[in-house]
Subunit: 408 residues, 2 copies
Amino acid sequence: MKLMRVTDPEKVLQIITAQFEPLEKAVICLEKAGGYCLAYEINAPENIPGFNRSTVDGYAVTAKETFGASEGIPAIFDNAGEVLMGQTAPSIKPGQCCLVHTGGMLPKEADAVIMIEDTEVTGTTVQSFNQVAPGENVIHRGEDLKQGDSALKQGHRLRAPEIGLLASLGITEIEVNRRPRVGFFSTGDELVNYNQPNLKPGQIRDSNAPALLHLARQAGSEAQYGGILPDQFAIFVEKSRAMLEEVDLLVFSGGSSVGTRDFTARTMQELGRPGLLVEGISIQPGKPTLLANCDGKPVLGLPGHPVSALNIFKIFGKAIIDRLSGHKEKLPLPTIKATLNRNIASRSGRTDYVRVKVENSEEGLKALPIFGRSGMLRTLAEADGLLVIPAEKEGLSAEETVEIIPWD
Amino acid sequence: MKLMRVTDPEKVLQIITAQFEPLEKAVICLEKAGGYCLAYEINAPENIPGFNRSTVDGYAVTAKETFGASEGIPAIFDNAGEVLMGQTAPSIKPGQCCLVHTGGMLPKEADAVIMIEDTEVTGTTVQSFNQVAPGENVIHRGEDLKQGDSALKQGHRLRAPEIGLLASLGITEIEVNRRPRVGFFSTGDELVNYNQPNLKPGQIRDSNAPALLHLARQAGSEAQYGGILPDQFAIFVEKSRAMLEEVDLLVFSGGSSVGTRDFTARTMQELGRPGLLVEGISIQPGKPTLLANCDGKPVLGLPGHPVSALNIFKIFGKAIIDRLSGHKEKLPLPTIKATLNRNIASRSGRTDYVRVKVENSEEGLKALPIFGRSGMLRTLAEADGLLVIPAEKEGLSAEETVEIIPWD
């Protein structure tokens, strides 16, 4: 029997980056830009802010006229009026000040704002019991962004702060890398659609499809489901080829038997060049994973066991979607820290993904490993996340602090 | 001048839980159930799996007939055929075995599966060079879930594993707590819509609205924007009241001036009982935050500075959305660990949110604090996340390991 040639998980991620390219560009409106990656560098078309603004409620003044002011010897100003929000500030003359609200424009003669707490008003006279330095309580024209400055680099993913920044610049249409389309097929003659109410002996419902579609959408792709493919090579290849024309990533899920894997691997070889790149990953669960490059498009063969299929798609499926989306960030996944409640064994040379429940206790968060075969979805639904035991470790000890990647 | 009464961030989260209730129930289909929380406990309507399944490719046997088998003295079986996937397994007689694939059904007489690697086939004779225990390489009927067992508890949030579990049970319609509708108003006469190309002096674009709408949708709500409200009390109250009838959470963003805050606070008192609950949070940036309960509906007044508004909505707006959605999980937010590259000062008694950039270096991940006023969106767009300095700390030292909440 042929042994499976396995690849390191880190190496698989490198292969994904090396083999596949970000998709072509598309223009989208700002309201829908969240999650997309910029296809170009954006330079600020104007200054932000466009005028000198007060950061407090107070009186705009020429700073040097406050020098020496104190509780005992206040500086005295004549109140020249109020800056109305959204309007040009009035002028002030020497010895004058002007009421300004947070965010309001400074008169062109003013270079600082005295906080209202430091003043006392009698009629049109304003006393300042404090001195201010030039620039104090002012955000200057162009201080956030100068016209022409780089605002966001190519590949930057658009989160809420970026959306706000682009809105402040009045940029409402943005060039991004197109979002990937992902197509899913299920395989295995034992599978029936999950909406089938009654099962015959030997049948099981295709539970991977809706779970994977959800994961793919969460990862920022448009996901579609092609149904359950029969174990007949000609039909399998024909349907796969048709789907691959429509999508940017094709995913097979189902059957973990050697026969089904061989079948999927043969299909991958038919679909394009160079074909199969990875025929197993040194990871548990999830070892029998296939990855191919079929004429530039990634094709992923997931293991059939539900726990393995979801774990693998969460890590490697998402990595492919990120790559196609033009995502450049290379930060690790965020984790929750907890104390392990027992020892866990692990084989050196293999990365282990352990399902973990996280519980609050008086001594802080506890990580409780959940054991159970990778066919058992209940064990994954009980888990708050995954604990990764790196290949070089031979297990973990009780009371160790561990980091858990949450299922979200 | 009146001092702002501030509330602890932890206390604000407790107020949110105590004052507001999950929304009413709704029925949704499984395909769209991701992110919703279960409004009831789900018991398994059937066994999962529904039959004894093989977890490997091999030969189904009666385990005791393999006892004593070894490399030198194999156990010998007559091959009674093959279990076809999705079909009832054939019967086997004493001395017989049956080829079964991963996921296939076991014959009712078989109680174990010999792995194919441990066998050799000659014609219809199968030699087993290994013994198997009863139950070995088998997942039993009901082993994942027994009919009638609790599959998922009320309040459980539906992620990919839960969607898979429900699909495996054939449950395609689910009762959940309805998703909250969130309405946003911007306030401040200096604001103009962000799609306005040219600004007059003193005007700025309403950059908070699109950023907050994105955050609210990410947090699992349906978000709508009501526009920019003028600073006229009667109109302000009338428009707010109309919006509050349509939504489950009303959010004001804009103006940080004392006048604007007072205005928003007065509106909240008009909208319903008991009215204002929080008139400031001991947090930096984000202190001038308002929270009210208006006849059972939460109304949130965000600080006007963009960085503050986004931080506060990310933490407290999301907490309100989670509460209304029926979310019960109380795990901390996941973080990225990194080493701080410099000292940061912080005032004791106040929780500080510091913008941080995370960079890869030879010694691992480095956390680089980004300083800048809370009006500056660029500083937030440059940041990978937030570093929280708890109220009891008086700053952090260079080389400390810190945890960063990523902006996603």
